[in-house]
Subunit: 204 residues, 4 copies
Amino acid sequence: MPPVVSDKYKQEKKAAILKSAFECFAEKGFQVATIDDIVAHSKISKGAIYNYFSSKDDIYLELMNQHTNENISNLKVELEKLSCTKDKLDYIFQLYSQLNEQPQFANSTRVHIEFWLYSTRKEDLRDLMLDRYEMYKTLFNTILVEGIKKGEISSSVHTDEIAQIFWGLIDGISLHYSMLLDKYPYKQVYNEMKELIYTKLDMK
Amino acid sequence: MPPVVSDKYKQEKKAAILKSAFECFAEKGFQVATIDDIVAHSKISKGAIYNYFSSKDDIYLELMNQHTNENISNLKVELEKLSCTKDKLDYIFQLYSQLNEQPQFANSTRVHIEFWLYSTRKEDLRDLMLDRYEMYKTLFNTILVEGIKKGEISSSVHTDEIAQIFWGLIDGISLHYSMLLDKYPYKQVYNEMKELIYTKLDMK
Amino acid sequence: MPPVVSDKYKQEKKAAILKSAFECFAEKGFQVATIDDIVAHSKISKGAIYNYFSSKDDIYLELMNQHTNENISNLKVELEKLSCTKDKLDYIFQLYSQLNEQPQFANSTRVHIEFWLYSTRKEDLRDLMLDRYEMYKTLFNTILVEGIKKGEISSSVHTDEIAQIFWGLIDGISLHYSMLLDKYPYKQVYNEMKELIYTKLDMK
Amino acid sequence: MPPVVSDKYKQEKKAAILKSAFECFAEKGFQVATIDDIVAHSKISKGAIYNYFSSKDDIYLELMNQHTNENISNLKVELEKLSCTKDKLDYIFQLYSQLNEQPQFANSTRVHIEFWLYSTRKEDLRDLMLDRYEMYKTLFNTILVEGIKKGEISSSVHTDEIAQIFWGLIDGISLHYSMLLDKYPYKQVYNEMKELIYTKLDMK
DNA sequence: GATGAATGAGTATTCATTCAT
DNA sequence: TATGAATGAATACTCATTCAT
C-alpha cells in the first residue's frame, strides 16, 4: 500500500479493478452494479478506484477499449499471416465458433450490449461506440474486398452488406445465447450461419 | 353492490398507462425512465398507476405481453390466410422490411433488448422471456417444416437453425440500426439477408 | 401525512422546512450544514424536503427572497406613510438600531454574508444577489434624492455614495457584531454612524 | 547529526506553500479549494504540505497571521515616522484608497471574510480572530487618542466608535466591492467616507 | 378509485488526512 | 524529508413504493 510506486504496480492495480468491475457488471448488469459492489468485490477502497478511473462510465470504457484493442490488433496480426481469403474467413469464423464455451461469454455479451444501449442516450459515449462498430465492420469488409480483387470471391458480392450481416448475426446469436444459455444450440446455429455466408460468397 | 366503474373504463385506463409508459421507456430507457415520467406523460396519478400495476417491472411485462400477443396472433391469423410457403415467408419478411421507417422503431428495439437483458437477472421474468422467444421461433420453424412436408422447400434445410438465424438476424440488425440510425443501411442489409436465406431454402 | 392536501398545509410545511433550514444554517453555516442536518432538525424526510425545494441553494434562496421581500415591502409601506425626509431616515435608522437585540441577528448576518460570498462563484446565483443589493441601495437613494428635491437635504450631497456608505456600514457593523457579539458596542457604534451621516446630510 | 536541510530551505518551502494556498483560496474560496488544488498549483506533494502544516485550517491560519503581522508591523513602522495626526490618518486612508486596483483585492477580501465567518464556529480559531480585530481597532484608536492629546483633533470625538466605524466601513465597502466589482464605485464611496470621517474629526 | 405527499435506502462522487516506501 | 496511493466517512440528490385522505 505504498506511494512512489512502480508502473507495474499501478498497472496491476488498474487491472485488478477492471477485473472486479467486469465481474460485477457481468453479475448484475452495468447499470445495476454499483461502485460499492466493485469495492466489496475487489477489496479496493472507493477512493483508490477513483484514483484510477474518473467515473463508472470510464471504468466500462477502459474495459471495452482494452477488450476491443486487444481483439482487433490480435485479429489483424493473425490475418496478416494468412494470404488466401478462405483462410482469413475461416480464421474469423473459428474465433467465434466456440465462444459459448468460455464461461463468461454470456455475461460479457450482456454487459457489452447493455452498455451499447446505455451509450445511445449519452452524446459523449455514442461516438466512441460508433467508431468501435466501424472498426469491426471494416475489418470484415476489407477481407471481402481483397478477396474480390484477388478473384477468390464472386465479384457480385455486396461486401458491405455481408459484413454487416456477419456482425449482426454475431450480435444477434450472442444475445440469444446469453439469454437462453444451454437451451440455445449455439454451435449448430453458428455453423448454419457460416454455411449460409460461404454459399453466398461462392469462394474458390 | 355493483362495481363503481365499468370494466371498459378500467381497460382504457390501463391502456393509457401502458401507452405512456412505452413512450417514456422508449425515450429514456427502461431503467432511466421513472414512474414520475409516466405520471407526467400520462397525467394519471402515481397512486392510480399502482392501482393497475404492482411495479415498474410489471408495467413493462404487461407492455411486452400485450405487444407479443398482438403480434403473434396477428401473424398467425395472416399466415393462416396464405397457403403456399413462399407467400408466408414473403409476408413475414415484408413485415420487418420497412420497420426502420416507423418513427419509434429504434427506441422500441432498445427498450425491448434492454428489458430482455434486465430480465436475465430476474428469476421470475426470465421464464416469461424464454417462452416468448420460443413462440417466435416456433412460428417461423413451423412454416419451414410445413414447407418441407409440402415439398416447397428443400428437405435438407435445418429448419430450427434457420429459424434461429432469422430471429438472430432480425434482432442483430435491429440492434445495430437502433444505434447507428441513418448511418445504417437497414434496407440493403435486410434485403441481402432475405436473399441469403431464400437461396438456402431453395424454394419452389 | 396526506396527499390531496390544502394550500395552507403546503405553505406550513414549506415554512417549517425553511425555519429548520435557517436554524441549521445559522448554527453551522450554509456550506457546512447538510441536508441531513435539516432532516434531523425538522423531522421531515429528505424526500419531502426535495418535494418542496429543488436543491440546498434553492432553500437558501427562498429563505432570502422571503426575508428580502417582506423587508423591502414593509419598508416601502411604512415609508409611504411618512412625508418628510427626516422622518423617513429616522424610521430606517431606528429599524437597524436594535437589531443586535434579536437573538438570531448574529447568526442571520453570518448566513447571509456567507451565502453572499458563496454566490460570487456561481453564475446563476450572482445576478440574484446583485439585484437584491440594487433594491436596497435604490431604496435609500430615493429618499435622499427626494429630500434634495424637496429642499430638506443639502443639495451638495452625493446621494448614491451616501446610500452605499449606509449599507456598507450596516453590513460592516453587522459583520463585526456577528463575530464579537457582546464585546462589540453595537449601539454606540451605530449611533455614531447615524450622527456622522446626519451631519453630512445637513438636514432641515 | 545536523539537520538535513537548512532552516532557510524550510522557510522558503513553507512560504511557497502559503503563496499557492492563498491563490487557490482566492480563486475558489477557502471551503471549496482542496488540498489537491494546492498540490497542483504549488507542485509540492501532499505529504510535504502536511509536513509543514497540520491541517487545511492551519494553512489558512498561518496565512492570515503572516498577513496581519506584516500589515500591522509595517503600518506601525510607517506611522512612527509621521508625527502629526493628519499625516498619520492620511497615510492610513491612502493605503486603502486604491486597493481595488490590486488584481487580487476582491478575491482576497472574500477569502478573509469567508474564513472570518468560518472561524466563528470554531472555538480555537475564534480567539485568534478577535485578537486580530482588536489589534486593528487599537491601531486606529491610538492615533485618535494621541491626536486629541496633542490637540489636533476635537476632544469630543468618540475615538473607539470612530475606529470601529472606520474598520466597519473598510470591511463593508470591501465586501460590496468584492461582489459587485466594476459595478461598484469603490473610489467615490471611499472618498465620501474619508470626507465624512474627517469632517467629524474636525482636524487642525 | 384517485390522489400525491411522504418515505428512506440507495447512488456516484469527493476530499482531508494518513502512512508505507 | 518527500512522495502520492490509499482510505472511507461524508455529501447532495433520486425514486420506487406506500398510504392517509
